[in-house]
Symmetry: C2
Subunit: 373 residues, 2 copies
């Protein structure tokens, strides 16, 4: 399938390598363990852009202003159905786990609760935190602000918003929760980067130029998305006649929840960032809803199974590709990777090896198959 022979690494080794690097960067062991768990979960589910590969990205960021891997989150507001946590410039993973657990606990007491996080950084995959609420038997909703400005509103010539992700989870009876996690852009920036690297035309509708015209040349599209100036990614809907105002409205919703409600920075602001903390100051927002209070959890779970059974028994266009629920594919990949290991690109492994060397921490990403032979 892939052009390059991948290195197969056991999940345990990926987790240990993440922990070692994070601790090497100054994170305490407990926070590093929680963070590594989130990264590994993405690698296992095939969400390769949000697994251990993020550490190669963070290696460049952590030298910037306002990034404090040793930060201790502080609960600033704490009420019946709400809370606000100041991450004090730390990475967003562990503080987000703390926030969603706080929301779940409060929702069990009052029916629904929301906890915001401010002054945070990247938190990886939004769906992970929604899943935590789902596993606890609650409906979870997650929104986050973003630092990269790349999304062009309908009719605009330049980007103002980010890919503002939205995730939810719904608990199931005797099964993993249904988990959905989407960027509010038509395609993720990373997909455009992959087309650029492979010189494959970009599907019409992913990227527009400064005149609002679709761009399919992969190298021009890459520049429009990753270099400052005009053009960029389209909101979900791709074009006005296919509903790009809807993706735009959803991107705004995600920023209003993740950014405006928490105090996160609006990265695209024309008014500067007066009164905002240094650094990314990303905001996250977590809502937990207890199905028990509305009609009882058993009735709710039975209805979720009804939806699930109905969709899975819906005739499909291709009999070999049945209709799926959100997260089904990732759950299947997780089963495979727990058995066969996680495929990592040699270039990534080399980067991570260099980071480990520089920090003086053990390199642990050993090829599973090489180790056997």
């Amino acid at each position: 399938m892939s052009e390059v022979e991948m290195i197969r690494v056991d999940g345990a080794a990926i987790k240990a390598q993440c922990e070692a690097i994070l601790v090497g960067w100054g994170m305490d062991a407990e926070t590093a363990t929680v963070t590594a768990e989130v990264l590994l979960d993405c690698d296992l589910r095939g969400i390769d852009t949000h697994g251990i590969s993020l550490l190669a990205l963070y290696a460049g960021w952590i030298r910037g202003d306002g990034f404090s891997l040793a930060a201790k989150p502080e609960i600033e507001r704490d009420g019946p159905s709400y809370g606000l946590i100041n991450a004090h410039g730390g990475l967003g993973f562990a503080v987000s786990v703390q926030a969603v657990e706080m929301a779940v606990k409060k929702a069990r007491a009052t029916g629904i609760a929301a906890v915001g996080v401010r002054n945070s950084h990247h938190f990886g995959a939004a769906g992970y935190y929604a899943r935590l609420a789902g596993r606890a038997g609650l409906v979870g909703l997650v929104a986050t602000s973003t630092k990269v400005v790349c999304l062009v509103p309908p009719g605009a010539s330049k980007p103002v918003l980010g890919t503002n992700p939205l995730a939810y989870a719904v608990p199931r009876k005797d099964a993993e929760p249904i988990v959905f996690d989407m960027a509010t852009s038509t395609a993720a920036g990373n997909k455009v980067r992959m087309h650029h690297l492979k010189s494959l035309p970009v599907p019409e509708g992913w990227v527009v130029d400064g005149q609002g015209q679709p761009v399919t040349d992969p190298h021009e599209a890459y520049k429009l998305v990753y270099e400052p100036g005009e053009g960029g990614l389209t909101p979900l809907g791709a074009s006005p006649h296919l509903g790009s105002h809807k993706g735009y409205g959803l991107a705004l919703l995600v920023h209003f929840l993740g950014g405006a409600l928490t105090g996160g920075t609006f990265a695209g602001s024309v008014n500067g960032r007066e009164g905002k903390p240094e650094g990314d100051n990303i905001g996250h927002f977590f809502i937990a809803i207890d199905p028990e209070v509305f009609r009882g959890v058993d009735a709710f779970l039975a209805d979720v199974e009804d939806v699930s059974e109905t969709l899975k028994s819906t005739p499909s266009v291709d009999p070999n590709r049945p209709v799926m629920l959100p997260g089904d594919l990732e759950e299947r990949v997780r089963g495979e990777r727990l058995k066969d290991g996680v495929p990592l690109a040699p270039a990534l492994v080399k980067q991570l090896s260099a980071i480990a060397d520089e920090l003086g921490v053990p390199f642990q990403l050993i090829d599973k198959n090489a180790a056997v032979n």
Copy 2:
């Protein structure tokens, strides 16, 4: 612009006509006034599919089972941050106003609250209820289940879901709230019907057939959407390479909130409707969030203005068409229609006249311009 000369009717006359017909159908005067207010608001904002024209649609429905216009809603559950109201088979408008007001009151006390409605019918435009929360200074989120099955999941050959609408509102400083209201399908069924009536080709991506292929012939598309069997509307995203799995995931979210959490019927179920009330049994779900508790309402409103100013000052592709926020267009139309009246199609006015005659209530939709001459 339009092929047919429209009849211009004052808002007050539209509201009075709605009230008269609803009372004629057995609704009490107070409920009819609230319902008429919602219908008029849509007519004023140019959301013509969800204004007084709905009465022509309901005239066919109210003879069906489980429709009880005289129903009195009953609060079945009432906790710190939650509530559940049984609409007992009534129309969804007034009970939804009651539910969102209940959610707002609870959210002011606890930070966030959600109120569900079950055993309801159509509630018109979701955005109206979100706006009520926004006007009260809170963030509002609205989801509803639907009775018409017309949305085809990615890879499926037949429809299972509805157009499952999602709406939100965000309060603003000294201005009307930002209000967003979308169907989770690429296009509304009504748009396909308009193309069918005008014999205009349907844009590729709105409708698919039973093999998942896009259909652009307006008459074939109309049949696929409005007749039972294979094919129908696509989820927002239109096709797999433009992200239709995202619109599908959003449509499911809306059903989980509006349907599964409240006990609303899943219209597409393969398992029948055992244990569900007679009739449509539509469920609605309203969330209200108080910005005050997270960081203070002034800081929140200032950040919303920052987003608004930034978007409105973003250079546009066409200088005559500036970048807009959700609801801006509707707000402008409202200003025009308050002055010039609401344009109604003669065929609709004739239908409403017949309904009024049959009920023996006064006909009040007088042409504003004819009345002057």
